[in-house]
């Protein structure tokens, strides 16, 4: 067991250092693609961190992403970069606590609609504030952060989100969330404070999303609310996580990588019909792969190793 763990750690370290070399080896195009891949990998994994075990479908990804990006747009030139990131993380976490406490009592479709509305609400609030108080419509982001630096920060975030997910899955919190996902009523009668468990994980997931937004902000030199709070991000992340399989930590990345590449291809070649194709892909995934790529792999394994399985009574 320990030998396996050591091998795994060694391979991970080797893989990470290899990926860290990309900015030295690749040209600008490949580096940009690498940034996209990492961005969606982190976002989808963070999404799965909360929505996988609890089965709450959130469309608030872009709300947190946008808060991160806007924090950089406002404070980027005033404060040192690490401080900006820390402020963004705190704002994202605070927002998540507020949203979590007020909405995680909602269930099913009400939660989905609320989170979708939340992103729109925050966007409108930012627009209102910018127009009426700060009298600007967009903001320029001039911070000394290069593309390579963005890439490395995202790589670090990716490593962090996987480590975090691994630790949570082995913790009491992770077990509690799996029980909540199975049957929330049972969970609460087992002595689990379901609200605290759900809000805690929601905050962790949202903080990571906020940091992605903050890290990505310098990539655009100009930011306005419609860019930072783009609802498309929420949907893309959702599709990726579902394609991969949100019930496993490694699931979302299996959806994020192929779909990022596909979206890249589609938006380059079919810029006008992109959203239609996106919708069709969503339908196909939900119908054909309800448990994602991970579910497909698990089924393969089960059929190749025949297990005596009885149908539930």
């Amino acid at each position: 067991m320990n030998a396996r763990l050591a091998t795994f750690a060694l391979l991970t370290a080797a893989g990470l250092s290899l990926m860290a070399m990309v900015p030295y080896l690749a040209n600008a195009y490949w580096l940009a693609l690498g940034i996209s891949l990492l961005q969606y990998t982190v976002l989808a994994t963070a999404w799965g961190l909360f929505s996988g075990p609890t089965r709450y479908v959130s469309l608030a990804t872009t709300a947190f992403f946008g808060v991160g990006a806007y924090t950089v747009a406002v404070l980027g030139e005033a404060l040192p970069w690490p401080v900006v990131l820390a402020v963004a993380a705190m704002l994202g976490a605070a927002l998540a606590v507020l949203v979590g406490l007020s909405t995680l009592r909602l269930s099913g479709v009400y939660f989905v609609i609320f989170t979708f509305g939340l992103a729109e609400l925050i966007r409108q609030l930012v627009v209102w504030f910018e127009v009426n108080k700060s009298h600007v419509l967009g903001r320029y982001v001039f911070v000394p952060v290069t593309q390579a630096l963005i890439y490395w920060q995202l790589l670090a975030l990716a490593a962090a989100v996987f480590a975090l997910g691994w630790l949570i899955a082995r913790s009491r919190l992770g077990f509690a969330l799996r029980i909540i996902g199975e049957d929330e009523t049972v969970a609460t009668h087992c002595g689990i404070n379901t609200t605290i468990a759900k809000v805690t994980l929601f905050v962790i997931s949202a903080t990571v999303m906020t940091l992605v937004g903050a890290v990505m902000a310098p990539r655009w030199t100009y930011i306005e609310p419609s860019i930072a709070f783009n609802a498309m991000i929420s949907f893309q992340v959702l599709i990726m996580a579902l394609l991969g399989g949100a019930h496993r930590l490694w699931g979302p990345v299996l959806g994020a990588v192929p779909l990022t590449l596909l979206f890249e291809l589609l938006s380059a070649n079919f810029p006008n019909t992109f959203t239609i194709i996106l919708g069709c892909i969503f339908l196909v995934i939900v119908y054909l792969l309800p448990r994602g790529v991970v579910g497909l792999i698990e089924r393969r394994r089960e059929t190749s190793v025949p297990v005596q399985r009885r149908l539930p009574a």
């Binding site: 077990f175 509690a176 009523t185 009668h189 087992c190 002595g191 009574a313």
Partner: protein, 247 residues
């Protein structure tokens, strides 16, 4: 001279849904090691009373004292941590998890003083206790109906509760399963576990309950030693009808 503290003492418990008073001024007491039957026709308020005791519903009025501590209106997770656990009318196990994890669910979030126990050993003991010995790795969704009930019971027993609420735990079992089910619950009493049993199966009520409380229309209409309560004229009329003799 002080009487021993009842495990559960309910007074004036009331809960209405709109105009319907589902539980109306209910009072009852359970002593340590006792099995109390909670009987009544369908819709008489038994399950609502159970939901009020376990925190699934908040009472409109009344007190519920568990070991002297008022738990009325507390959320279910706090009541569970104070030592009251339950099973559900429609059996609820965690289908995607194995038997070991199902029992652990009841064990690790329950009472704080259990934090130090050897979880694997205690889980094995509990599964053994309910007749699922050695089934740790079996997925809950693969179990038969009665085994699902056994598993749910093991989860409820896990935190060593002061009081166990069983909501029609014996319903839907075939005759031979019923015999083993009754034996299992009797063995729990022999271990000194205090139980409230909501039950329609009269054979089980006669075999297990020391005392019974009978509800009808949300009110308590009779209370006392099982044999005499079941013979009570008001009870026979309200609930048992003509089948009392042959049940």
């Amino acid at each position: 001279m002080t009487a021993p503290l009842p495990v559960l003492a309910v007074e004036g418990l009331t809960r209405a849904f709109g105009g319907l008073v589902a539980v109306n001024n209910l009072a009852l007491e359970i002593g340590r090691g006792e099995i109390l039957g909670l009987l009544g026709p369908n819709g008489s308020g038994k399950t609502t009373a159970l939901n009020l005791m376990s925190g699934a519903l908040r009472p409109d009025a009344g007190t519920i004292r568990l070991m002297g501590c008022d738990i009325a209106g507390l959320p279910p997770y706090r009541i569970a941590r104070l030592g009251l656990t339950r099973t559900f009318q429609l059996v609820r196990v965690l289908d995607g998890m194995d038997c070991r994890e199902n029992v652990m669910a009841g064990l690790v979030f329950g009472r704080p003083h259990l934090a130090a126990v050897d979880i694997n050993a205690r889980t094995a003991t509990l599964l053994q206790r309910v007749g699922l010995g050695g089934q740790e790795a079996r997925l809950a969704c693969e179990l038969t109906y009665i085994d699902r009930k056994r598993l749910e019971l093991a989860r409820a027993l896990a935190p060593a509760p002061d009081l166990l609420l069983l909501d029609e735990w014996l319903a839907g079992l075939n005759p031979s399963e019923l015999v083993s089910g009754i034996d299992l619950i009797r063995s729990l009493r022999d271990d000194g576990i205090t139980i409230v049993l909501v039950e329609h199966v009269m054979r089980a009520v006669r075999a297990l309950c020391d005392r019974c409380v009978v509800m009808s229309g949300g009110r308590k209409i009779a209370e006392g030693v099982t044999g005499s309560v079941l013979a009570d004229k008001a009870v026979v009329e309200a609930y048992l009808g003509g089948i009392a003799a042959d049940a």
